[in-house]
Symmetry: C2
Subunit: 155 residues, 2 copies
């Protein structure tokens, strides 16, 4: 079983951000297998139906979740520094459940998945675009794994 | 006089992050002229001479600074949410001094420039790579300008 999973709705549209995701994912996978599940997006709904979009996407993301320790990225979450995040990740990965990070789409994360979360994590007090958030998360997971392994983080 | 300036040492090396910088800079400039000064980097010094590198780069960056309100990005700084950052940016841009954001290189920001700063800003409790920090800053400046202009932020 993979101990590290990342779930979000749909492929990242910005080409450069997608390239960065692939860059950090490849580095993460040098240390640790990592599943990326790009769940089905809600389609055909105008942006004003944000609640509906979030609900559909939450259900689609739930199909990719098992019994993992679920960490939802949310501005209502708690911030950590990188050293604390590295310890947190190590702890969750070493449990039998493994850990799954869940990041919302442009509409945000639906209540049903936030309620199911074991932990809410905020990466910044600033509101970052959801696609930039994904890159920040992957960069931190990579950084955490290098901290765990005691390697110098590649500049 | 340009009211908005950004200063950091050297061109961003990661190609995708550089593309994102250009993407956000172009969007910022739809609203507001913005000078980007890529100051001379310290060269030929091994990473262990971080203090020396920071000092040289601080001096090189200072050549690009006038009397602006200087905001240094620093993990010792204060975090803001995006709405507060938008108000902060508007206030500084509307003063006669204008505002300059200063971001360090891989070694960090030298004491001499931190001492000269009018404000220390932290974008996250997490340690982000200095090149990713640049993108987060530009994204926030763009977001702040859209908030000021009351435009919907392009997803």
């Amino acid at each position: 079983m993979t101990r590290l999973k990342i779930v979000w709705p749909g492929k990242t549209k910005n080409r450069d951000l997608r390239a960065l995701e692939e860059f950090y994912l490849a580095r993460i996978r040098q240390f640790e297998p990592c599943d990326l599940a790009e769940a089905k997006e809600a389609r055909g709904l105008a942006d004003r139906y944000a609640e509906k979009i979030m609900d559909i996407e939450a259900r689609n993301m739930e199909r990719h979740l098992r019994d993992e320790f679920i960490v939802c990225l949310s501005d209502r979450g708690r911030e950590m520094n990188s050293a604390d995040f590295a310890r947190f990740l190590e702890k969750q990965m070493s449990s039998s459940r493994g850990v799954a990070f869940v990041v919302g789409g442009f509409a945000g994360l639906g209540e049903r998945i936030l309620k199911r979360a074991d932990h809410l994590l905020s990466v910044s007090r600033l509101t970052l675009s959801h696609e930039l958030c994904r890159v920040v998360l992957l960069e931190q997971v990579y950084r955490a794994l290098t901290i765990q392994k005691g390697k110098r983080y590649a500049k």
